[in-house]
């Protein structure tokens, strides 16, 4: 019997020692909150795609005492009174700042589609085809350039739509249902925003439209999200159906303008045919005497998006004006010094370097470095209790700078066509995956520095931590064994430079006045 007790005691000790059930977060955890301000003048801020918020027209709403409006209120009241538990949860989910929720949806889709097509049985590779998104392989391959662009269009379109909504909100000043009728309760912390047109409806519609264009296989899923979001706007007591109709109209028109730009920004030519990428390679080899080659098995015939450097930028006129100088030639003294550093890191993987390499890796199957910086931005947006239009603005400028950084970086990559460490260091092995494009400059470094600069502009008191993280993200690629130190340091400078163009635009849009 004694032994049985012993056995039992050991089992109980073991069970209590181990954590049995952890609550793993599958979404950003926040609730509705009091905004730090409502920016009643935001309707006059300068948008990105249109010249002013008033460019989109919205009908004048019905008066507060009109029978039509009163009938709308009655209908809202009755829907709220018959709200189910699931509907209540849905209202809590979207909160009063749904910009963050739609950004989170975008990050999830990026991670879902960030899968590189594998080889076919005959060792050839097929490219994702937007004309046949189901594939195989499925479209898109949401790699970092693709992700940066999806996030930029999403955020810019959201921001412009919100400016338009703010313009009419404060022109018409129609109060929200919960303020007109005391029997209508408000599910969120109140911020006294006029309700017509609904900024939530702008967001729901514009986000669904942009993300559906970027992730066509998700059309049904996104449609469902849009409907859930629209429903939450009524059930929260914030809007009546005519608020939603006006917001949807703005959303649809802005989305059409954004997608028209997207269809002609050059992205569709970025994954160039082999002949084009070979000619870029030859030009670089003739000019510099080196060339990057893919070392995968089987070899990939074309690097990732050789012509992404030609995509239309948001804030920079000429990409070449942001192109850094030449990297050290292989064999040179500076180059040999780098080889030693990389070999030392590979031979001595410390826990700290491994942690940094992994933390910033954001590789295949994840939300990519642009996604990581959106995740970081979300935290600070909440910390400073930004309202939804400030949130949209923060994401818009940050994602414009990230995308411009990516374009500048890709221009540099395929101009210099610089080899990766595994190509030039004999028997070199890495703890991170070597990507399918040239080394110089490092995409992580440029994306991160660009993001950090815009965040520093937005949250100046936090600037030192953003810049520190951007430098750590740059270093992570050296620790991972897939970048030279000059890829990272020059890339960081490049990212900062490119971001300045967008920050200069941001400073004059009226929000800082």
């Amino acid at each position: 019997m004694k032994t049985l007790y012993l056995l039992l005691a050991v089992i109980i000790a073991v069970v209590t020692m181990t954590r049995c059930n952890m609550d793993l977060a599958t979404e950003l955890e926040y609730e509705s909150y009091a905004f730090s301000g409502i920016d009643s003048d935001a309707g006059s801020w300068k948008p990105i795609l249109i010249s002013a918020g008033s460019d989109i027209s919205v009908d004048e709403p019905t008066a507060q005492n009109s029978p039509v409006f009163l009938a709308e209120l009655e209908a809202v009241k009755s829907r709220i009174s018959s709200m189910s538990n699931d509907q209540k949860k849905n209202v809590d989910h979207w909160t009063n700042n749904a910009v963050l929720r739609w950004n989170e949806v975008a990050l999830g889709l990026i991670a879902k589609y960030n899968l590189i097509p594998g080889p076919n049985v005959d060792e050839s590779y097929s490219l994702p085809d937007p004309a046949n998104p189901a594939g195989p392989p499925v479209f898109p391959f949401a790699h970092p350039p693709y992700a940066s662009r999806a996030l930029a269009y999403l955020s810019v379109a959201q921001y412009d739509g919100m400016i338009s909504a703010w313009h009419y909100k404060f022109q018409f000043n129609r109060p929200a249902p919960y303020r007109v009728d005391s029997e209508i309760s408000h599910a969120y912390v109140s911020n006294n925003l006029p309700s017509y047109p609904s900024e939530g409806a702008v967001l729901a519609t514009v986000s669904r439209e942009i993300l559906t264009a970027m992730f066509p296989l998700e059309a049904d899923y996104l449609k469902e999200l849009e409907e859930h979001h629209l429903e939450s706007l009524i059930l929260s007591g914030e809007n009546v159906p005519s608020d939603l109709a006006a917001g949807k109209k703005i959303g649809e028109e802005i989305a059409a303008i954004a997608l028209a730009r997207a269809s002609n920004d050059g992205m569709k030519y970025s994954q160039s045919p082999k002949a084009v990428s070979d000619s870029l390679r030859k030009v670089a080899f003739d000019r510099f005497g080196w060339q990057w080659v893919n070392l995968e098995s089987p070899v990939r015939p074309v690097g990732l998006t050789p012509l992404f450097g030609k995509v239309k930028m948001w804030s920079v006129q000429n990409v070449e004006s942001t192109r850094p100088g030449m990297p050290p030639a292989p064999g040179s003294e500076a180059f040999q010094k780098d080889v030693k550093i990389l070999q030392d890191y590979a031979d001595n993987v410390t826990q700290e370097r491994r942690r940094i390499a992994n933390f910033w890796q954001d590789g295949l199957g994840t939300y990519t470095p642009p996604g990581h910086w959106n995740d970081i931005a979300g935290e600070y947006i909440l910390k400073y209790k930004m309202n939804s239009i400030r949130t949209a603005r923060a994401f818009a400028y940050m994602n414009m700078a990230i995308m411009d950084g990516g374009i500048s970086c890709w221009d540099t990559k395929y101009y210099y066509y610089y080899p990766r460490p595994i190509q030039l260091i004999k028997d070199f092995e890495t703890i991170a995956g070597t990507p399918n494009f040239p080394a110089y400059t490092s995409g992580h470094s440029v994306f991160s520095a660009a993001a950090a600069e815009v965040l520093t502009y937005l949250f100046p008191q936090e600037g030192s931590i953003f810049r520190e993280w951007a430098e750590e993200a740059a270093l992570s690629r050296i620790y991972g064994g897939i970048h030279w130190t000059f890829d990272a340091t020059v890339g960081t400078t490049q990212g900062r430079d490119v971001a300045q163009y967008t920050i200069d635009v941001a400073k004059t849009d009226g929000a800082d006045d």
Partner: protein, 313 residues
């Protein structure tokens, strides 16, 4: 006589891509007498060049052939004649053969410390043979800072595990025996070095839930040479209770649903002289799976048993 022998069987098929079972589990039908202690030194080599991505068997030029070597030191002690305790510690190294398309560095290090108890619940000597039944519980936990989120090279799953097993055996007087065991392995959480991962949706955390699993084994064996040698054929199976599939041409991760069916052959020889010395050898192969490596493994080991508090030799 039999109860004066003991052994450790390495549960085959547990090594490799997802480490469904630990490399060391007291799962046989033997007990050590009170006060006896036994040591095992074992070396295992496993390799695979195909794996199941979901349910599709594939190869992958990025990893070419993955090799895995495990050195294990283990001790067992008879607390009483009916209760044995176990402790084991494996040292693992992994790598891909060259050439490969990924150029990933392999890993090396100490994996998980395992502690186990086995209790003889029942023994009945019939006319034609003997029935025995056992229960066991093993607990293991990582004892180095290896990264579980570095597959297929990671040393282990990086999570605490608690395995419960029930085992029943019948041995005929002519030396043939049949054994079956079934159990459940609770697997805890492992911490990755990233803040976000995808597992059929976004996870904004560095913690990954490693799926728990049901495990089964069936064994047929026979004693030879006056109980100096025994040979077994075994089949074992492991089925995760949750988890996601490896995504297309993507690396596995600890959240994957890993299933495996494995067959093997095992032999053990006990020397008459020097008394207490034994040899074990085995081969196993994963024959079907889901998110699992098509691993084949060979292993060899030496055991030495002696009375700790009543020296007999």
């Amino acid at each position: 006589m039999k109860k004066y022998f003991w052994t450790l069987i390495l549960l085959m098929g547990g090594l490799g891509l997802s480490y469904i079972t630990m490399a060391q589990t007291p799962t046989d039908g033997l007990m050590m007498p009170k006060g006896d202690i036994c040591f095992l030194l074992n070396y295992e080599y496993g390799q695979f060049d195909h794996y199941w991505e979901g349910e599709t068997l594939r190869k992958n030029g990025t990893i070419a052939k993955v090799q895995r070597r495990t050195s294990l030191v283990m001790a067992a002690y008879g607390i009483t004649n009916r209760l044995n305790a176990y402790v084991g510690l494996p040292f693992v190294s992994t790598n891909s053969t060259t050439p490969n398309g990924g150029k990933f560095a392999g890993t090396t290090g100490i994996q998980d410390l395992t502690l186990g108890l086995k209790y003889e619940a029942f023994r009945y000597q019939g006319e034609k043979g003997e029935w025995t039944a056992f229960g066991s519980v093993t607990f293991s936990t990582p004892v180095s800072n290896y990264l579980s989120d570095y597959q297929p090279y990671s040393l282990g799953i990086g999570a605490p595990q608690l395995a419960w097993r029930g085992l029943i055996e019948y041995e005929w007087n002519n030396g043939f025996y049949l054994r079956g065991n079934g159990g459940y392995i609770w697997k805890g959480y492992t911490e990755a070095e990233r803040d976000y991962y995808y597992n059929d949706g976004s996870y904004f955390t560095s913690w990954m839930d490693v799926p728990s699993a049901w495990i089964y084994e069936a064994v047929v064996g026979k004693w030879f040479m006056d109980k100096s040698l025994r040979v077994e054929l075994n089949y074992n199976s492991s089925i995760s209770t949750s988890g996601d599939d490896i995504r297309a041409y993507n690396a596995p991760q600890p959240t994957n649903k890993v299933n495996m069916d494995c067959v093997g052959v095992f032999a053990q020889y006990f020397f008459k002289k020097p008394k207490g010395l034994g040899l074990v050898a085995s081969y196993s192969r994963v024959i079907d799976g889901r998110n699992a490596p098509e691993m084949s493994s060979v292993n060899a080991g030496v055991t030495y048993q002696f009375g700790l508090f009543h020296p007999t030799n």
